[in-house]
């Protein structure tokens, strides 16, 4: 398997998809709601996913694709080459802000993450990694994450998880918010993951993410030493929604033990 060839191809279709999305802003945007009003989907999400699927299938028809919009075939194992794609992560930002949304792609070979991409469409910023080789932000290598103390950390966490909720002990989250240097929330999991792998945030947590939200990011994480797990400290379940944390390795365990604690 020529990973370098797949890497070059993946970058090409990501840049091309980005150009199509930026152009599409000049046309009208049709916004529908999926399962609920907070889960927006637009015609451009769907078109971008279809575009990516067609390109990948004509590149190699044996590659399988898991996509957010479900336009691909049914995939029930990570055997062979599997692309996990999110054409637009951060749809609400896309619709309302016209920025802060990402194309996220992870390419797995027999269950092992090999190539990961997070592309900030409006900034044209690419975070990516090749397993065992390294990670880059555009043309610059991303460094291994340096240790950080919890008091100096900036954490990506949404206000929802500071309020009482059925997932985690919010009193402990309140302690965390008071302890750290700052918190941020951007409305795009892939953006927050990209910020963690590049040291712009020191951790990011969420209570329910899907494989396509994190597929690309977890592969980049490994190359810079960021630790990505669910809230039980296990590998993320790529066939269901799951809880998620990605953190600087110096605070991952402390966060799970003291501050981001699930109800039993």
């Amino acid at each position: 398997m020529d990973l370098q060839l797949i890497d070059q191809f993946a970058k090409n279709i990501i840049f091309e998809a980005g150009r199509r999305i930026r152009t599409a802003f000049t046309y009208d945007l049709v916004v529908e709601t999926k399962s609920n009003a907070n889960d927006l989907v637009t015609n451009i999400d769907r078109e971008t996913e279809l575009f990516l699927i067609e390109k990948i299938k004509s590149f190699d028809s044996t590659h399988k694709i898991i996509g957010e919009e479900g336009m691909g075939e049914k995939v029930d194992s990570l055997e062979g080459v599997v692309w996990i794609i999110d054409p637009i992560d951060g749809t609400m930002n896309f619709v309302k802000q016209h920025r802060h949304f990402m194309i996220s792609i992870g390419i797995f070979v027999d269950g092992i993450g090999k190539l990961g991409y997070i592309f900030d469409v409006m900034r044209e910023d690419l975070f990516y990694a090749i397993e065992g080789v390294g990670a880059w932000y555009n043309d610059s290598p991303l460094r291994k994450l340096q240790p950080v103390k919890i008091e100096e950390a900036v954490i990506g966490i949404n206000a929802s998880w500071v309020a009482p909720n059925r997932h985690i002990h919010h009193e402990k989250v309140i302690e965390l918010v008071r302890k750290v240097r700052g918190t941020r929330s951007y409305g795009s999991a892939a953006m927050e993951i990209a910020f963690v792998v590049s040291g712009k945030l020191d951790a990011y947590v969420s209570m329910r993410l899907s494989p396509w939200d994190i597929g690309g990011g977890t592969i980049i994480a490994k190359e810079v030493g960021a630790i990505a797990t669910n809230l039980r400290g296990e590998g993320f379940d790529f066939f269901h929604q799951d809880t998620f944390i990605i953190a600087n390795p110096s605070i991952h365990q402390e966060l799970l033990e003291k501050y981001i604690v699930q109800y039993d």
Copy 2:
């Protein structure tokens, strides 16, 4: 007073200050702490403020300047022409993320906000307004804000205010977090204000801001119909720290009455 001339001059020094800051990233950054560890200041903040002051004083030595770093003279009234400047709003973002920080400038004439600027230094994005004439995002006019329902609103609010705190009833903030479509937090007041005036957020609240955080923004707000007050619904106190809310006019009052409620 030739406002158009001042406007052109202000834009010139903002763009020039932005270029200087972007160049400075190639040099080392000296980070000190001011009053506490969360209040970072760098040599570039100071140099940028000095640069702006020198330019303004040589443009017109009668103009007065209130600056975050306190490098200007003591100003105790808004009589005459007063510039309220923040060379880098979002210093923590500046240091850690190398993005999401703003130059913010408001120009007041005898207490009336005449010209307002928020400049995203890394994106080179300028939000600005001329009182009574209009507001712009780069070359595009900013539209009057359209009504929004609270259920559909996206609100800029930091996790700190969802936790119990001595300023506002956090139980009501929790209700708000559950009611709205989403919340965001970017770590730069000027950035969040720029997002409200351009409809990317529907409101932003903070418990303690200084004049330079909001001087430019409140002038832009007026031109697009955004309402900016303190949490008592009064005009912001430009000589002290104060609470602050800026919101789409359709939800400003509802937010203050039901969700962002100060302790007596």
